[in-house]
């Protein structure tokens, strides 16, 4: 009946029908289920117009070639989010774009750059993002990200409502010029800053599968007095703005090397700034609060690292000191008026 060797129409039809059947089973049906059967989390805000335009810029520049947006349910991905990603997380961002373009492939397959699931949580500073887009190596020395100069304009006289990016003068061809962010850059930053994992009701977050080979971390947990590695925490959390050498960036981020606050024998002000953020000086950008990102021990470790590095010299502090201050410092999540 099925003489494939001699009957070409049988051969083609059978391979077609079986392939379509398998495809429907393994692709179309599960896809359809995921596409129709999900709702946004109650805590998830709708995307604003500006954020949606920013997403379009993200897609157009194909940021997903290097940046993933998925926190996998394995321990090594804890760096990128508080919980594994869920299908609902993508409810708003992965809608079909328009009649020409489909739902953006945000999950990505390459992590040449950091995962961006929680980019807005990690780095809420809009100024930082603008500088970083203009020239990534201004704020992250070893970065290999392209410069997105075409999202900015150079002008001698910016209009009063223009968003001026404080690029150091020596980086410009003409030092009289000012760098102004275009609407596309502002939209893209609005999108990046909006990237935050929506919280789940307590206790419902799925856990991470333990990662192979985290022996040393469990070992350090058994010694409660041992602090984590402040140096690597500094690189992860602080160096993007303050620089790997603690030199900051003039006009945008203050230096920590030689800082009076860091070198103060009493660490109270320093720890309070780390916990609650800081926006006291007009010439610098806003420092985001770290109380929710870092544990007491991690803050103490970073503080001790700073107080003994970059030629700084101040006595170490303790986890207990941070613990005491945490209850007194109001979490200033919104510093801007």
């Amino acid at each position: 009946m099925f003489n494939f060797h001699k009957d070409h129409s049988n051969l083609v039809n059978v391979s077609l029908v079986v392939f379509v059947g398998l495809s429907v089973f393994v692709a179309v049906m599960p896809a359809n289920d995921l596409a129709t059967n999900n709702a946004p989390l109650p805590s998830m805000p709708r995307m604003t117009e500006s954020e949606r335009r920013g997403l379009a810029v993200y897609v157009s520049e194909n940021c997903a070639a290097c940046h993933t947006q998925q926190v996998r349910n394995i321990e090594m991905d804890k760096t990128w989010g508080d919980r594994p990603s869920l299908p609902s997380d993508y409810h708003y961002s992965k809608e079909r774009q328009d009649v020409w373009r489909q739902s953006p492939s945000l999950l990505g397959s390459e992590r040449t750059g950091p995962d961006l699931t929680n980019a807005g949580q990690r780095q809420p500073g809009e100024l930082w993002h603008l500088l970083h887009l203009y020239d990534p190596r201004l704020v992250v020395k070893g970065s290999i990200m392209p410069r997105y100069g075409w999202l900015f304009e150079e002008t001698t006289e910016p209009t009063p409502d223009a968003v001026v990016v404080p690029v150091p003068a020596e980086r410009l061809r003409d030092s009289a010029h000012k760098v102004v962010a275009t609407q596309r850059a502002i939209d893209l930053v609005a999108y990046l800053v909006s990237l935050k994992q929506a919280p789940l009701p307590d206790g419902t977050a799925p856990g991470f599968l333990p990662s192979p080979g985290r022996k040393e971390s469990t070992a350090s947990m058994t010694r409660p007095d041992a602090l984590p590695d402040g140096g690597s925490l500094f690189v992860q959390t602080c160096s993007a703005c303050h620089g790997a050498e603690g030199m900051g960036l003039p006009g945008a981020f203050p230096p920590l090397a030689g800082s009076a606050i860091v070198n103060d024998a009493d660490p109270t002000l320093m720890i309070s700034i780390i916990l609650g953020g800081y926006d006291a000086r007009a010439e610098y950008g806003v420092m985001p609060a770290q109380a929710e990102q870092l544990s007491d021990a991690e803050i103490a470790a970073i503080a001790n690292y700073l107080r003994s590095s970059f030629s700084n010299d101040a006595p170490p502090t303790t986890t207990e000191a941070v613990k005491t201050l945490r209850s007194t410092v109001a979490p200033q999540t919104a510093i801007l008026p």
Partner: protein, 561 residues
């Protein structure tokens, strides 16, 4: 045996980064790389052996010369050893040129010529984006930025180079093995222009910042991809029509693969672009399915079809087992289709789908081993031929990479290896190992085997050799550097090293990748030159009466049902 079991299960339950090297997936990968090296050594050995023999013969001839001098002037040069290379080298030129209808011959050369142009362009772009990892400030032009150019590279080599080369070579196989002519050459030309147009339009749009959403290999928006799909449809009609008109009872196994590849890819493109089930993570499921099947059902299936014809004919031997080919065909369809989601292991996709993908990834061993066995057994007994011509080394590398690349891909789906390698440069190494090591080497082998036969012109063996070695060494440097760099990066991620340190640490590997990539690109320039030499119009074409010689080798290509 029972003594070993607890130890084994323990090792699998708690693999650590400290003994990562002993993880089964890693060991398997190292063994596979070893196989590639072994093959390279074999080819080098064969070539050197032959060179030494030739030298010795030349020496002997010189030594004997004085005794053979003929003072009466009737004999000017004599040798006591009159066999190869004189006869061997000569017999491949001209006398084997085949009688291909002029219209078809011209069209095939145009398909292959377009493919060569896209190969050079696509890999130039690839080389450029590869260098951007080392020098990110190479340019400040939006149209040349990394994000926009990367899909230009991948789509050009996929749809431009590999697809057009496959279809061009396919026209020869389908007509030859069916003993029939193509129903409509006009549709063949239409398909060629539709597909070329699709690639030009798609690339310009990508560089202008207009893409479909960034999912790999479907970055072209649908109006740009539609002409390509129409081209595929016209090609299918032509191939199916030829097989339908065949003058031979059996459908040769190559045509199974080629017809199925076209059918499946038309289904694939349709499913990949229809919108109704692609909101939210629906898109991600389709993406895994589409990008994996693009490789498996289109490039791999079609190229296997080509190999089932060109490999036995180049070796002048029957295919070892027809039935193994049939087994590989059906298992390829069953297993390959199910494994797309292994690109999204640990992603928020249904767990059952990920399990199915991992399980069937292992199932892929069946078609891969069946295919590899078939090809290697067909080549057995012809190993001495490796020293004589570069066509055979190209085939050998393609076949070995078929085994190595495919099994390595299955190993990559394992739990620990996925932990370590996912999202790193290792993926890029894997895709070059397969798309370049298997598909591109196979297409070169087929082109070097057939183009001289239909034009009657041979390229210089020296340049073909240079092409082979530059491409092979380049690929090896590319592959090893990214595999090593990717593994180190993955282990550092697991250990929780700061991300930026892993970027800075990758630099030396990216430099080696750029060096390997440069070699690969330069080899493509040589290949383009060789192609021009082969494709130039030959006097045989104008004097068809010289083609009365029986088209020996290819005609006898065997059907042993």
């Amino acid at each position: 045996m029972a003594f070993f079991l607890p130890g084994v299960s323990h090792a699998q339950a708690t693999p650590t980064t400290a003994n990562w090297i002993s993880s089964p997936g890693v060991i398997g990968t190292l063994v596979l790389i070893g196989i590639v090296l072994l093959v390279a050594a074999l080819v080098v050995g064969a070539r050197v052996d032959r060179m030494l023999k030739d030298l010795r013969r030349a020496n002997d001839a010189q030594k004997q010369k004085p005794t053979l001098i003929d003072h009466r002037g009737l004999v000017s040069d004599a040798t006591s050893d009159p066999d190869i290379p004189l006869v061997d080298e000569k017999k491949t030129v001209g006398s084997l040129a085949m009688d291909v209808p002029e219209g078809l011959r011209r069209m095939i050369l145009w398909y292959l010529g377009s493919a060569v142009i896209w190969l050079v362009f696509g890999t130039l772009v690839g080389q450029y984006v590869g260098m951007k990892f080392v020098w990110p400030d190479m340019d400040q032009i939006s149209w040349l930025s990394f994000g926009r150019l990367r899909p230009v590279h991948t789509n050009t080599v996929f749809w431009g180079w590999a697809s057009l080369a496959m279809i061009g070579l396919g026209y020869f196989v389908v007509t030859r093995t069916s003993g029939a002519s193509v129903p409509s050459l006009r549709n063949g030309w239409r398909a060629l222009w539709l597909m070329n147009g699709s690639i030009v339009l798609g690339n310009v749009l990508l560089m202008a910042g207009i893409n479909n959403g960034g999912g790999e290999y479907r970055e072209y928006i649908w109006p740009a991809m539609l002409p390509f799909a129409l081209g595929l449809f016209l090609t299918f009609r032509n191939f199916y029509g030829t097989v339908k008109r065949r003058t031979i009872g059996e459908i040769y196994i190559s045509n199974w693969y080629i017809l199925a590849a076209l059918t499946w890819t038309l289904v694939l493109v349709t499913i990949g672009y229809l919108p109704w089930y692609q909101n939210g993570l629906g898109e991600t499921v389709i993406q895994g399915y589409y990008m994996h099947q693009g490789v498996g059902m289109w490039f791999m299936t079609f190229t296997l079809g080509l190999l089932y014809y060109y490999l036995p004919s180049a070796f002048n031997r029957p295919i070892y087992s027809y039935s193994l080919g049939v087994l590989a065909f059906w298992t390829q369809m069953l297993f390959y289709t199910m494994i797309g989601t292994h690109h999204f292991v640990f992603a928020p996709l249904p767990w059952w789908l990920q399990t199915v993908a991992i399980v069937f990834s292992v199932g892929m061993f069946i078609p891969v081993i069946a295919g590899t066995t078939n090809f290697l057994m067909t080549m057995r007994g012809s190993w001495s031929a490796i020293g004589k011509s570069y066509v055979l080394p190209f085939f050998l590398v393609a076949v070995v990479f078929y085994f190595v690349g495919s099994t390595q891909g299955s190993l990559q789906a394992f739990r620990f290896t996925n932990h370590m390698w996912h999202f790193t440069d290792f993926n890029v190494a894997h895709s070059h190992m397969t798309m370049y090591g298997i598909i591109t080497f196979a297409l070169w082998a087929c082109m070097y085997a057939i183009v001289p036969r239909i034009t009657g012109r041979e390229p210089s063996q020296l340049l073909v050799g240079a092409h082979f070695w530059m491409a092979f060494i380049g690929l090896f440097a590319y592959m090893i550097s990214l595999m090593a760099g990717g593994s180190i990066k993955g282990l550092q991620w697991i250990d929780g090293k700061p991300f930026i340190d892993t970027v800075i640490g990758s630099r030396p590997y990216w430099i080696w990748r750029a060096i390997g990539g440069s070699l690969m690109f330069l080899s493509h320039l040589l290949f383009a030159w060789n192609f021009i030499v082969m494709a130039r119009r030959d006097r045989h074409a104008e004097h068809p009466e010289q083609l009365t010689t029986e088209p020996a080798v290819l005609e006898r290509s065997p059907v042993t049902a």
